[in-house]
């Protein structure tokens, strides 16, 4: 065993005793979720390819400690919808699992609805729900309704509430006919609707959605989003959603938290996030014929050309918008142009390619 491993188990033990990672005072005790210095580390073993490596590994394993989430501070107020955004492997799911008490943090402090999630008190578990886009809580071989009835017993929901919620949600989601069909015969989109329903039967105070729209087509994504918006309007529960589809976040969230490599990159309102790159507009032009993309005019405008070189997307500072577009229209055979706000996808991409921008912003 390497020293690192010993260190991490040591940390873990200390954390369980609550001796490290304590920040003196919690800033706001009314917060629904409050995390300070939250950290999770995993230990795994190296495996080398090939027979020789396998033989070596058989007798002597080398361990690797990976920090999935490091020193994460986070706060959520009642009724908020928050988007956790980040590339694959950034630590979003690990965070969600800590919030819901599925895994125990290695260090740091965490309170959700006033509970330590990993103590998993029954009371706590009744107040939360987790939907995972990649896993299913519904039973593959039986209709959703059977799973719902089982969940009714799990959460001790009385018959009247149960019936009323089923009616309300199946109406909203348009799944009345699907509830009596075996899950394995349904499409992914249909299944996802039922997954959502299953998680909301007990009317949780906090809903955790881990990539709820993953793999769905655009229409299905839109349906799910619309449902979440309506449901939130009616029930005012808090929602934490992870996704790598920006459209989810744009449609649903007032606030957004960006995670890169297990650390928080940005935390604030969506509108502010868009402004990180300065006050710029995205303008796209379509030309009658191919244009030389190497002309000096494009420099500094972050041009994105299509393959035929007859269409370009530019980032233009707002104060130069008139001047530059005027020039382009004069010099080239423009047949169409359009301007839009900086799409969040591009903001993300730019940020991921240059994390410096963020630290500048945060400073």
């Amino acid at each position: 065993m390497s020293h690192l491993l010993c260190l991490s188990t040591f940390c873990k033990k200390m954390a369980e005793k609550g001796q490290i990672g304590q920040t003196p005072a919690m800033k706001n005790s009314t917060a629904l979720i409050q995390a300070n210095g939250l950290t999770k580390q995993f230990v795994s073993y190296k495996k080398e390819a090939g027979l020789k490596g396998t033989l070596k590994g058989f007798f002597n394993r080398e361990s690797v400690v990976k920090t999935a989430v490091g020193q994460f501070d986070f706060e959520v107020q009642k009724g908020e919808i928050i988007g956790l955004l980040g590339p694959n492997g950034a630590g979003k799911t690990t965070l969600m699992k800590m919030f819901t008490g599925i895994i125990v943090p290695s260090a740091g402090e965490l309170k959700v609805l006033g509970h330590n999630p990993w103590e998993r008190s029954k009371d706590f578990r009744k107040k939360i729900a987790l939907v995972m886009g990649q896993k299913s809580q519904l039973w593959w071989d039986i209709p959703a309704m059977d799973s719902f009835l089982l969940l009714q017993k799990y959460y001790e929901i009385n018959d009247r509430d149960f019936k009323q919620r089923i009616d309300m949600m199946s109406e909203l989601l348009d799944v009345k006919k699907l509830m009596h069909i075996q899950i394995r015969r349904l499409s992914l989109g249909e299944r996802m609707k039922l997954e959502l329903m299953a998680s909301l039967l007990h009317s949780p105070e906090v809903l955790f959605l881990d990539e709820p729209t993953i793999g769905l087509d655009l229409v299905a994504q839109e349906n799910i989003r619309q449902f979440i918006i309506n449901y939130h309007k009616q029930n005012q529960c808090s929602i934490i959603i992870t996704s790598h589809y920006m459209a989810d976040v744009q449609a649903l969230c007032q606030r957004l938290t960006l995670i890169l490599d297990g650390k928080k990159g940005f935390d604030g309102p969506l509108t502010q996030f868009e402004k990180i790159l300065g006050n710029e507009k995205v303008v796209s032009f379509t030309f009658e014929k191919a244009i030389d993309p190497l002309l000096p005019l494009w420099k500094g405008l972050d041009p994105k050309w299509n393959e035929l070189n007859n269409q370009v997307e530019l980032r233009i500072p707002e104060n130069e918008l008139r001047k530059i577009s005027g020039q382009i229209i004069e010099q080239f055979p423009v047949i169409d142009f359009a301007t839009e706000k900086m799409p969040i996808e591009r903001v993300m991409k730019t940020l991921m390619n240059n994390p410096k921008l963020l630290s500048e912003y945060n400073a």
């Binding site: 599925i102 896993k135 071989d141 039986i142």
Partner: protein, 261 residues
Amino acid sequence: MMRNYWEIYKKFVSTSTTMAMSFRLPFVLLIVMDLCFYFTSLLTIDFIFNHIQHMGPWNRDQLMFFMAFMLLLDNLHMTFVSESFWELSMMLKTGQFDYVVLRPMNTLFSTFFRFFRPSTMLNFPIAVGVLIHYGLKIGLAPSAWALLPVFVILSFILLIQVEFIITTSMFWVIDGLGINFLRMQFQKLARWPNFVYASMPRRVFTLIFPILVIGSAPVSFLIDQSKWYWPLGLVTSIIVLGFVLSFLWTTGIRRYESASS
């Protein structure tokens, strides 16, 4: 509280039954599988006793009674818990266990009693019939008949406690399939009376890890009711293992790392 668990259990049974019934051939094959197992187990003893008179202190019918007792336990085990062990190893591997952890109820209960096998239950009368048959042959006392069902239940409890404890190691060793095979090895060990084993393993498996108590305790006592220390040992084992299990299980759940999706 108890009523709620009973309600949940009824749902477990009904969903398991719905699922089992939708696969008709496996449903029938499971019954055949168990019957093959009962039959060859009894036949093995029968063939051995064609050549000898006694094994340890017991004669043919007494050993047959012991085997019948163990087969009945196996039947209960197959019906009520067996499938859950295999499901657990899968759930840990796929991360599906997340949902078990999320639900507001006792995780030991929802892990191990989730899957019910209706097909094996159909063999229950056969297993009971065989036990009664050999019970009559060895001439059990009326008091022994009265205690028999109690002992079946107590032994079943000890058996599943032992198995739950073994299974808890799945939280440390993610490859749960291997653990399931290990568990089955212990079942096999317990399927012979304690006196078969040499003194060292006998002591270890009676006093430290009491798998031999499961069958040997009740049957030894039922045959000779002066051996009061056997039922006492059985009850003590259940109590001690109960504590060990609840400690290990809580520790295990905290170790759970949840496979990444």
